[in-house]
Assembly symmetry: C2
Homo-oligomer: 634 residues x 2
């Protein structure tokens, strides 16, 4: 019998200006689903070890999932993956908005971009057609200018774009890809890879809505969410992700002054509630989602802000704000707009600036190094100036454009102590001394420090909706916050599988679908008979493939640790005296390896585990690589 | 918040004549569910290593599951567990019928029997009341006489009994416990443990039907099955489990002459179809099941058979029939009735008799050893005579009552080659050279060779309903029959988890519920939000706890192998030339260990794996035992 899901993978070779299409079978989609699964599959299969992340041999993959574009909330997202120029490891980032759904409606599940165009180009994909178009006139333009120009020249205002700004063109190692100006695939430097290929944008417009096997089943969930989204997510609609900033402040865990403090004096002024009451002019959303958690901000003075770029998420507020000691919401919002326009990841940008400020404070940098700039915590003007310098790699900005790990190596002295990264990727705005499970996630995530690959411990310390739902996985007991014992590792492991599944589907992790509802969505769209078991295994498979990719690149145990800062206690606030035990974390990492079925010493997936996940071929890839591994390039 | 399932565990100490009741919390039930899960929990927690299986320190546990007694097919079963006197390992067996449901309605989920009564007793449990009653007058009686006497003296014809016959009293190592004369908890000698406690029977009558959280959900499944059971299981109704005997004959895999051949000349005469057309007088069933796969046979000549004892299943027909070279269905049916009346496991009985016949044929036994009996394959009279001698341990029967492993040690010479067992338990009637995954199951099952702990390879070699349903677990590809590679091990592993779950719930493995339907039944009864993930993990947990029990008793890798016979090819029939590769099987066992997260050398569950299953306490039990392990007694 012929099984259900019919999909297409689009492949564009920019060196050869060629386009081709592949049609994997249903079993392929069922094994990998999309997003994380597809990306890890193609990177493992098609990239040799030691591929230069910024060379033409790297492949840049835009992937949706089997449910993308279906009429339910959370299904508009897409992933972008490649070997990361920031970490040298597996690179992947997800973005919301409408681009993912629109791309899916062009008839494809994923796009693999290979090679490098001789001159700047953009792609125009519409209803199955693919054009590689000249983009010399767009080079140097912001993401906003780029989208406007493309819509004008193609004569369609409904075109969606995924584009890079000047940061991607200049191969800033944490350049991002922006969906429609305001939704960033922010992490691991996918924008730099896009820039290295001379690819400015991917414009899409589609009308091929894929078949849905059981429309009623899918509609029932959409209706359920429409009825309950205010009760479930009204807070997020009201004040956005930054609405939770004050909760972290109360817990003493708001990253401040480059993670040296957990309480920020001006927290009230930069909160989501203040944003709502001052500069917010509208609430944006993603495809098919009634929540409207996205922000649109606007102002004229002191900083003119174009509302087309949306508004800052929590991560951006804390990274550009408290972590740089900046309590000026207007400046933070402007910084956010600049990052969106230039195509910079706000987290890495903010952490890089905070890093520079600490180095300056401690004398590792002087005005002689910084083009005369005084890098002082709290100086909003300096922050804004540095964003532009980073995006264009101007002067001192060129150093920060390399990310904190490389910058610290260049600066020397004690700068490494100031570099808040894991595997070269700058830390998101979640304090590992509070959320120790999140810290474990930073340590072991294949993408380096990454909040979308981890868990929020705070939700599982006592009975409540998240833990009640987690019972569905057999997680029956609360786990204390500052615990890194086996019960926490187990909780992390199961939630990591589920997050990885969400990133394979590619679904929003905020929409609080039950496990059973996600099964219904997948089966409703595809006609499969999947279960939470199969979906959890897809998630585990994705994490394991990404790990295998990293093993092939020579990464291992020694790369799975937090910055040493977190093993020292905070010295003030509610978390005063709390640290992440260095040995406890080492033990948790080792426990995690064993629970994953990986070799306990190096964290290498065993051949048997790979077979258990139905991906024995990965063991063969690792074996091949063992015979001639090259180290990854700087 | 207080969670849902309210259960009670009944504990009876026969040494002290005391009765007590425990009320574990909802999390306990959700972690262990019942059956396998509960039994393994209590045996690990409460038995010291090296406990004499036939001593008062052993505990005999009758366990139902959380869905037992709910109004859906497959929910009438119960498990019986203890340290096995046959294997010295974890002992467990399941039985169908009505006893499980009736016991559940007395208000209890499980009964733990401890100690040893001074004189024979039976238990009378009715609506929460427990009486320990004198049973001297029942000692020596058949199971049928016992049930009739109890019903008469308690004045209730609807009483259900789980009883032993003379075999249990004589501690035949493979004595069984009979539910209502015709449903056997056959394997691992639980009847001998019951006999060692001077416990003749457990009579139950209950009217406390447990609450069902969502009656409609449960009813919908019952109605679905009522509508579809003929189409799904009509064949089983028509000719019983023995209806499949001819299929195995066609494949060349019908165990014949002590597993030396796979084709039996008289197969037609002993088939389920012949039974249907000759001696069948009625079709029996289990609680709430519309299938009626059980047989009731009756005759007068040449052997009077009491229909109260039902009729033979496939396992009994092949074990007492083809495997002993006996093509006389009347004799087989009589043998089945005798085993039911005396309380003997038909599989171990038949395999022990075939063992003796082969030893006799090869000269390892002579008439001097056998009380003058000529033990010739095909001699039905000898077979019937030996059943009585075994049950009463008369003469040569006393040796066979020890099971083939001990008998072979006693006989010496080449007798071990004739002893078809794993871990001391005699092989069920599934030829491992055909069903190599079943063979792997025999090798690694904690209970020794056991067909309820394994898989039927034949169902997964091509597309069809079983494989289509298995897709729900991510098992997407057919696996060839004679393959023992990693794909087969993975298939086995997942199905073993699910079988273990079924044995924890304690549900029938024949009723072809989808994975999703089992989830609905569990949630419908309990009000939980369980998923296939959580249920699979319960299954894995059960297998792992049983393994840990065995590790504590000193069992390991060297106990996980098939009899050497199966590494030699069959010499005739469709399977001519086919063997189970010895190295392939060793490799498969090692692969299985690794996929289970067990130590690859000894098959010991790692501490991390135990934590991943939420049972870190088992690691502590193993650690304690390591400090003073005793070997198990003969």
């Amino acid at each position: 019998m012929a099984y259900g899901y019919n999909g297409q993978i689009l492949r564009v070779d920019l060196s050869k200006s060629s386009v081709s299409v592949e049609r994997p079978d249903d079993n392929f989609y069922r094994t990998y689903l999309g997003g994380r699964g597809l990306i890890a599959y193609y990177l493992l299969k098609e990239l040799g070890p030691g591929t230069d992340p910024l060379g033409p041999e790297n492949k840049l993959i835009f992937a949706t999932g089997v449910v993308t574009g279906a009429p339910v909330a959370g299904s508009g997202r897409n992933s972008v993956g490649a070997r990361s120029p920031l970490t040298g490891a597996y690179g992947e980032s997800e973005a919301g908005g409408f681009w993912g759904a629109e791309f899916k409606w062009t008839g494809y599940d994923a796009l693999i971009v290979e090679g490098r165009a001789e001159r700047p180009v953009y792609l125009w994909i519409h209803d199955g057609e693919v054009e590689i178009r000249e983009a010399g006139h767009l080079w140097g333009q912001t993401t906003g200018q780029t989208q406007r120009a493309i819509r004008r020249e193609l004569g369609d205002d409904k075109i969606r774009t995924a584009a890079i700004g000047p940061a991607g063109e200049h191969k800033v190692r944490y350049a991002c890809v922006m969906n429609d100006l305001r939704h960033a695939a922010g992490r691991t430097g996918m924008g730099a890879v896009m820039g290295s290929k001379n690819l400015k944008a991917i414009a899409v417009r589609g009308r091929k809505k894929p078949a849905v096997a059981d429309g009623q089943k899918v509609q029932a969930i959409a209706q359920w969410f429409a009825r309950h989204c205010t009760e479930l997510m009204g807070g997020l609609r009201d004040s956005g992700t930054a609405g939770r900033l004050l909760d972290l402040q109360v817990l003493g865990a708001l990253p401040t002054h480059n993670f040296r403090q957990g309480v920020f004096a001006a927290a009230e002024q930069i909160s989501g509630q203040t944003m709502r009451d001052t500069i917010l002019v509208d609430r944006g959303t993603c495809y098919a989602c009634p929540v409207r958690c996205k922000r649109t901000v606007q102002m004229e003075e002191p900083y003119p802000i174009d509302p087309a770029y949306g508004g800052p998420e929590y991560e951006s507020v804390a990274a550009l704000g408290s972590n740089c000691g900046i309590g000026d919401l207007a400046a933070i919002a402007k910084g956010n707009e600049l990052c969106a326009a230039y195509g910079l990841d706000t987290i890495s940008t903010g952490v890089s600036i905070a890093f520079a400020m600490e180095c300056f404070e401690r004398g590792f940098l002087t005005v002689g190094d910084t083009d005369g700039l005084q890098l002082t915590f709290g100086d909003a003007e300096v922050m804004l100036k540095l964003i532009g310098m980073i995006a264009r790699r101007e002067g001192f900005g060129n150093l920060l454009a390399e990310g904190v790990r490389r910058a610290a190596e260049e600066i020397g002295q004690g700068a490494a102590e100031c570099a808040m990264h894991v595997k070269g990727q700058e830390l998101p705005m979640h304090e590992p001394r509070l959320k120790q499970g999140m810290g474990l996630g930073y340590a072991v995530s294949p993408t380096g420090a990454d909040h979308l690959q981890s868990m929020h411990d705070t939700e599982y310390v006592k009975d409540g909706p998240p833990l009640q739902e987690a019972r569905a996985l057999g997680l029956l007991e609360p786990v204390p916050m500052d615990d890194l014992g086996p019960a926490k590792v187990r909780l992390f492991l199961y939630l990591q599988h589920w997050n990885s599944l969400k990133n394979s589907l590619v679904m929003c992790i905020f929409v609080p679908y039950s496990f059973a509802q996600v099964v219904d969505i997948v089966n409703g769209v595809t006609g499969w008979n999947t279960t939470v078991w199969e979906l959890m295994k897809v998630g585990e498979r994705g994490t394991t493939m990404a790990r295998a990719f990293n093993v092939r690149e020579g990464l291992g145990l020694e790369d799975d640790h937090l910055p040493s800062r977190f093993s020292y206690p905070l010295t003030a606030g509610p978390l005063e005296g709390v640290a992440v035990g260095r040995e406890e974390m080492q033990q948790a990492v080792a426990t995690y390896y064993q629970m994953m079925g990986w070799d306990a010493r190096a964290g290498t997936p065993t051949r048997e585990k790979l077979h258990e996940l139905g991906i024995g071929w990965v063991a063969d890839e690792l074996e091949k690589a063992r015979q001639g591994v090259k180290s990854w390039p700087e």
